[in-house]
Symmetry: C2
Subunit: 229 residues, 2 copies
DNA sequence: TTACTTAGTGTAAAAAATACACATTATATT
DNA sequence: AATATAATGTGTATTTTTTACACTAAGTAA
């Protein structure tokens, strides 16, 4: 405990837990590793931070390089630093999560060959993950469960226009339990951030539901309220 | 983005935000630095993690070496990693908070000369802090504000036996606002973790209040409930 | 005895959460 | 055209939680 200059004593990395909702299923984004250790294993998208980037900037860049995704707003939630979490040396990793709107257009394309591919995988069919990534994922899920109770972040998962039933599906998948339809609608509408549209769902084979959209202005207000008291 | 071995790319440190309650005042623990940069400035107790320690272990050791305190249960809450947060090089710091029972016995005695001294300082009289420590403190306070609403962590600040008015004082100091006495008592008792003692406050110059103590068994149950759903 | 200071208590009203079931509507099938 | 199907959409009563609000009781000091 004598050094004055801050001596490098660790590698620092970022790992990202991205939730996506597609075809009625809750998925997370994984990469297939192309490097040792854990070559060919599935892992959370993650890599070492860069010299001239903040943690948030690193997170965005890394996600982009490994998956091709950009403009994803991620939130930091925990740092994992067990001594032996990486078999080849000390790596402290800082975990971020985000919820993401899926839907065809955005192809997943790693821009580096550190990953063979990136893919959305149903959370009920998770493979064995590299390193302590299962643990990092578990903590991330716990985090958004708590979060979703207070803030309507589930909309980040949905397309621009959505039905209330879709919202309820997302909640049920994340919380892992069934919710009462009437009470759910009452509550979700009471946040005051949904705008009913003059438009119905199309292409369904039964009664079409009313579409809603998400009012970003009101959401921002709500969000800042939740933070303070 | 080519290395396979995890190359050290940063220093990693821990900073601790410790809240204490004493003489009716909410305080935090600061050290006076004895090293450049920011020699002679006040700072949060913090230092670099060790090679063979987890983050939690590092936090405990560092707190001990800088202040003499041991057996303090701290919780990690955020990682700060702006590129220029340390003037002499990259340092990512991981912040921990805890709430602590003060009261005479435990002397503060740095065991290293990295700190000149350690001292409890009223949160209303904070000096200018080194590095980005003001920011780290602000985030920590925000965190416990949110936390205290759901869990009765305020008891960690109080002596073994305490009055309800003392508990209320702690809440008011942390939340920064006055609370209604009757409603506060109703709510705090409804947590079901306080045991009324057959004993009164002593040495006060007016009516003595009933003492309570904190039931750790019930608290543990409550805590685990809050985490899941 | 009196003055002072803090402890300790209850209720009514409002708001939020919960439990619960059926008619409506669009489509697909015959 | 009639019918079957499957999901949409809606209301109320009950319970629980939160909020607002003011006085008496008890102990100490003068």
């Amino acid at each position: 405990m004598e050094e004055v200059l801050p001596v490098f004593n660790s590698a620092v990395s970022i790992d990202c837990v991205l939730f996506g909702f597609d075809g009625g299923e809750l998925k997370i984004l994984l990469i297939e590793r192309n490097e040792e250790p854990f070559k060919d294993w599935w892992a959370l998208p993650g890599y070492l931070i860069g010299d001239d980037e903040s943690l948030d900037q690193s997170a965005s860049r890394i996600l982009h390089e490994l998956t091709g995704l950009s403009d994803v707003y991620m939130e930091q939630y925990y740092a994992f630093g067990e001594v032996d979490r990486h078999p080849q040396g000390r790596v402290v990793t800082i975990a971020y999560y985000a919820m993401l709107r899926l839907g065809g257009d955005k192809a997943l394309r790693p821009l580096t060959n550190y990953a063979k591919k990136a893919q959305w995988i149903n959370i009920n069919e998770l493979p064995k993950l590299a390193f302590d990534h299962q643990h990092i994922y578990d903590k991330g899920l716990e985090k958004i469960k708590r979060r979703i109770k207070h803030l309507p972040i589930a909309f980040e998962l949905l397309p621009e226009k959505f039905t209330l039933t879709q919202v309820q599906n997302v909640y049920e998948l994340i919380l892992g339990k069934k919710l009462d339809k009437r009470n759910f609608r009452k509550k979700i509408l009471s946040f005051g951030v949904l705008k009913e549209l003059d438009e119905k769902q199309k292409g369904v084979s039964f009664r079409a539901a009313t579409l809603y959209k998400f009012d970003k202005r009101k959401y921002a207000k709500l969000y800042s309220k939740e933070i303070s008291f």
